[in-house]
Symmetry: C2
Subunit: 145 residues, 2 copies
C-alpha cells in the first residue's frame, strides 16, 4: 500500500508540474507508463484491488491519456530482456507476478478498446517503433479531416 501511495504521489506531482503545464501550452505529451501501470502492478500484481484506481484518479485529477500503446510480450521473454543489474523492485518479482500483470494489462486492453492499442513487441525496436508510428499517423490523419 505504501508503494502504491508513493507511485500515486509521484504521479500527482508529475501531472501538476510537467504534464498539465505542457498541455496548457498546446503541446503533445508522450509519457512512459501512467495510471494503467499502477492499476496492474499494484492493484492486480500486489492484489491491492480497486483502491489503486481510486487513488490514482485523485492523483491525476482528470488528466488522462487520449491513446495508450500496450507493448505485448510473453512475460517470460520480457523478463529475460531486462538486464540483471538494472532490475527495480517490481522487475525483481517472480514470473508469477509478471504473468498476473500481463493478464491484467490484457484485461484493460479489452475494457478500453478505443484507448488502448496492443502492439506485438516480439520484434526489434525498429519494428515496434514502425508499428506505433503507423498508428499515430492514422490518428493524426483522422484528426486533420
Amino acid at each position: 500500500m505504501t508503494e502504491a501511495l508513493l507511485y500515486a504521489a509521484s504521479r500527482a506531482q508529475h501531472v501538476a508540474q510537467v504534464i498539465l503545464p505542457a498541455l496548457n501550452q498546446g503541446r503533445t505529451v508522450i509519457c512512459d507508463r501512467f495510471m494503467d501501470s499502477s492499476i496492474v502492478y499494484q492493484g492486480y500484481g500486489r492484489k491491492l484491488g480497486d483502491c489503486v484506481r481510486v487513488i490514482n484518479e485523485y492523483a491525476v485529477r482528470g488528466c488522462l491519456p487520449d491513446i495508450t500503446f500496450l507493448l505485448k510480450l510473453d512475460p517470460e521473454i520480457g523478463k529475460n530482456r531486462i538486464k540483471a543489474d538494472e532490475q527495480d523492485r517490481l522487475e525483481l518479482e517472480k514470473l508469477e507476478y509478471h504473468k498476473a500483470v500481463f493478464q491484467a494489462y490484457q484485461g484493460l486492453e479489452h475494457h478500453y478498446p478505443e484507448r488502448i492499442i496492443g502492439i506485438d513487441a516480439t520484434g526489434s525496436i525498429d519494428e515496434i517503433g514502425r508499428k506505433i508510428r503507423e498508428h499515430i499517423e492514422k490518428i493524426l490523419d483522422l484528426k486533420d479531416k
Copy 2:
C-alpha cells in the same frame, strides 16, 4: 495532492511496520497525529476535500484509534508557540490556514464525541498532561469493571 499522498504513504508504512505489530503483541500504542490530522491539514486546510479521508482509510486499513486527544488552543497563540526555526511546511502557512485547520478539528470533535476528547491546551505542559492522565485513568477504570 502530492503532499496528501506522501503523508498517506508514510502512514501506511507506519501502520504496517510499527503500529499493527505492536497491537498484535498486545501493546498499547500512543501516536502523535494520525489520519484526523491529514483530514484537517490537507482535506480542509489545503481544500482537497473528502478524498483525503478515502485515501487515508485505504492507508490505515481499518487500524483506527480507540481514543484521540485534541489539544485545543487559539491558532494565533498556537502559532506563536512554535519556534521560528522549527517550523515545517505546514506550520509555515498563514494564520488563515491554521484557523481553517482549527475549525475543522472542532468539526471532527463534534462529529466523533465518543472518540475525540478536547483538552484545553492554554495551560502549562504539566496542566495539560494532568488533564490527559485523568481521562486515561477514567477510561482504564471503566475497562477494568
